[in-house]
């Protein structure tokens, strides 16, 4: 990857530049579509790597393929795009001006590692300090810490239980990473990062001394650059709703209640459990897994909107129990109604035909834990027959709702958002176009469609030098 700042100035050619904020699948797609249409594009990503939330997923619905291969194709496309610059650990501080003629102020945090890094890992071995690994969301953390992990910038967690025999691996402990680290094994750019918390300590020196490639630069500082851009694509994505706020479900109090995102981390062979599907309380196999739909969504006490992906996510995840435990694995999905539309309906039908997957039409009222076994017990009334139930399971997965990762007053510019905080298409937004989960709760397929649409709008602005149709709208 070219060294960022000089690279950008070079990009300021004869035509306007498109700035893409957020390097998830939507931001990457928008950036690639625009640059492959001959435009100059700068993509800025807050985290040290690109890919966004999909890097945390084990498999994709509906094909049950691994997200890694799609990401690899995109990385290759980025490398083949000379007019696209990618800046990691960067965020937009402010945006001034009008459509076709904005000035963006971008702040870049120091990584302390330059592009000579070969990802050999020697620095990580030398450094002693360890921190909770934010890549694994809340998994393995307990109570209060966990609800913080749900937000984007906390120091998350997961366990380091080791993948030995088939009995208990002991309670799940939060995963730790070193103060010099690669965010996850497939991270791109493939470059280590020094945690700012070790700067100025003995560990920084240790890392520096361990590196044989001259890749560590302890003098790096935060910098702010001003960029002239014609249009902005806002693709900052989503974050999970804070599950601890759904009080009757006991997330944070009952260890065997986790979120759907945490389950994705648990299935990862390189993740905190080594891919074992276990109960956080005791590390025993989780064979009988319950899924609770609309956890935080479609609820005026929480998120009012339907998060749209979580029915499909639970259907997908119901295959995980089968994958790990064959005929001994069972899944029970507690739902209000299943929302799998269009071609996704076929996937629903396929899952429904599996006798090991049960569907109970009921929003669970509350969860208690059996004091002896640690089994979570789900209480409620079944809408089909109005029968009361109290069902024990090994593990409960909350199909957690999606909310915009940037909300309210956090936008560095004025933008029109709807009741749920997602960006609305509106002429008042000028040449700021939202893409992916910044516009709505979307799956990958629809995020990519929305990103392509946003790229087209931005390309039009660049071609026209201003906002196409702006004059007529003013009348």
């Amino acid at each position: 990857m070219p060294e960022p700042v000089p690279g950008i100035e070079g990009a300021g050619t004869d035509q306007g530049v498109i700035l893409v904020v957020g390097g998830g699948i939507s931001g990457i797609t928008a950036a690639l579509e625009a640059t492959e249409a001959g435009k100059d594009v700068i993509l800025i990503e807050k985290r040290p790597f690109i890919g966004g939330r999909i890097t945390q997923l084990y498999k994709y619905f509906p094909k049950l393929c691994h997200p890694v291969c799609g990401l690899e194709i995109n990385q290759r496309r980025i490398k083949a795009s000379p007019r696209l610059s990618v800046l990691t650990m960067a965020s937009l501080e402010s945006l001034r001006g009008t459509a076709g003629d904005y000035t963006a102020s971008v702040r870049i945090a120091p990584r302390y590692v330059n592009d000579r890094c070969t990802a050999c890992g020697a620095c990580a071995e030398a450094v002693q300090a360890e921190f909770n690994d934010e890549f694994h969301d809340g998994l393995g953390l307990t109570s209060a810490d966990r609800s913080h992990a749900a937000s984007d910038d906390s120091s998350g967690d997961s366990s380091g239980a080791d993948p030995s025999g088939d009995s208990s691996t002991g309670p799940l402990k939060p995963a730790r990473r070193k103060g010099a680290y690669l965010p996850y094994p497939m991270a791109w750019p493939e470059r280590f990062v020094l945690d700012p918390r070790i700067i100025g300590t003995e560990d920084a020196r240790r890392a520096f001394d361990a590196c044989r490639y001259g890749a560590i630069d302890l003098d790096m500082t935060e910098e702010t650059v001003e960029l002239k851009v014609a249009a902005v694509i806002w693709a900052t994505g989503w974050k999970p709703y804070d599950a601890a706020k759904i009080q009757p479900y006991g997330y944070g109090r009952i260890p065997n209640v986790i979120t759907s995102l945490e389950l994705e981390r648990m299935m990862d062979p390189l993740g905190p459990t080594g891919g074992k599907l276990v109960r956080p309380s005791d590390g025993l196999p989780a064979r009988n897994v319950a899924f609770i739909q609309c956890a935080g969504s479609r609820d005026r006490n929480h998120l009012r909107h339907c998060s749209r992906i979580c029915c499909m996510v639970s259907l997908k995840q119901s295959t995980y129990t089968r994958e790990r435990y064959g005929d001994e694995g069972e899944a029970t999905i507690y739902y209000i109604d299943i929302r799998a539309i269009d071609r996704l309906e076929d996937f629903y039908r396929k899952i429904k035909s599996d006798p090991k997957v049960r569907f109970i039409k009921s929003k669970v009222a509350n969860i208690t834990a059996d004091p002896r076994s640690g089994d979570p017990i789900l209480h409620g009334v079944d809408t089909e027959g109005y029968r009361r139930y109290s069902n024990p399971h090994d593990l409960v997965v909350l199909a957690i709702g999606m909310q915009p990762s940037v909300g309210g007053d956090d936008f560095p510019f004025e933008v029109v958002v709807n009741r749920d905080g997602f960006i609305e298409p509106d002429p008042r937004n000028g040449a700021i176009f939202a893409a992916g989960c910044a516009t709505d709760a979307l799956d990958v397929n629809r995020s990519v469609q929305s990103a392509t649409a946003a790229a087209l709008r931005a390309v039009q602005v660049v071609n026209a030098g201003t906002m196409p149709g702006l004059e007529s709208r003013r009348d």
Partner: protein, 212 residues
């Protein structure tokens, strides 16, 4: 009261949901229920009664007029508000439950031997007489609700509570021979009559303005 009932049957011709919307307190919310089941699942009385709120709301939509108005459910509600705080659609469930109970009485269809209903009647009679609740008389009538022998037994069981109330001046044994009253008892009764008049006029008129 029950000519009221025939009138309503005639007026709504099987559209019980509409009848509830027009005449039951907060009844216009019933159609907002999405049948998720959280209210019934959260209700502490749930295991002990015939129909919980979720079922009642479905029955209303299904036009099960007689079953709903004769149900015990609305009378069992203790106003704990568990359901209200959890309902994802923010239905004022507790109020609807009380609204249904009240409407059932007006239609003359409320369950006759339902203990809460009896208590409510006694409470109301007691209050209506003097404008103040006479705890002693109310308590005594309650004890004898199931007959004389039962009443003595209950009274003996509850004796410590009663004595405690006397000690803390929450109940005065002299109340049995009169008790405290509102100052203008006639005015109080006139006020109640007026209220009943307004209520009946409202029912006469049918749908409330803006209920559509």
């Amino acid at each position: 009261m029950s000519e009221n009932n025939n009138e309503m049957i005639e007026r709504y011709r099987g559209n019980f949901l509409r009848e509830v919307e027009d005449n039951v307190e907060e009844g216009e919310w019933v159609k907002m229920c999405m049948q998720c089941g959280v209210c019934s699942g959260s209700c502490p009385l749930g295991p002990h009664w015939d129909f919980g709120p979720q079922t009642l709301f479905m029955m209303i939509r299904a036009g099960k007029r007689d079953e709903v108005l004769a149900a015990e459910g609305p009378w069992m509600c203790t106003s704990c508000y568990n359901c209200i705080v959890r309902c994802p659609r923010e239905l004022p469930i507790t109020h609807i439950m009380h609204g249904l109970a009240h409407y059932a009485v007006r239609m003359g269809l409320a369950p006759k031997n339902q203990p809460t209903r009896k208590f409510s009647d006694l409470f109301w009679k007691n209050l209506k007489a003097d404008g103040r609740v006479n705890e002693l008389r109310l308590g005594i009538s309650l004890y004898f609700m199931h007959g004389f022998v039962d009443g003595i037994k209950t009274a003996l069981k509850k004796a410590p509570l009663g004595l405690g109330m006397v000690r803390t001046k929450r109940m005065n044994p002299m109340e049995f021979f009169g008790g405290h009253k509102v100052r203008d008892r006639k005015g109080f009764h006139r006020m109640l009559e007026k209220a009943e008049e307004i209520e009946s006029a409202r029912i006469e008129k049918g749908p409330r303005p803006g209920a559509e």
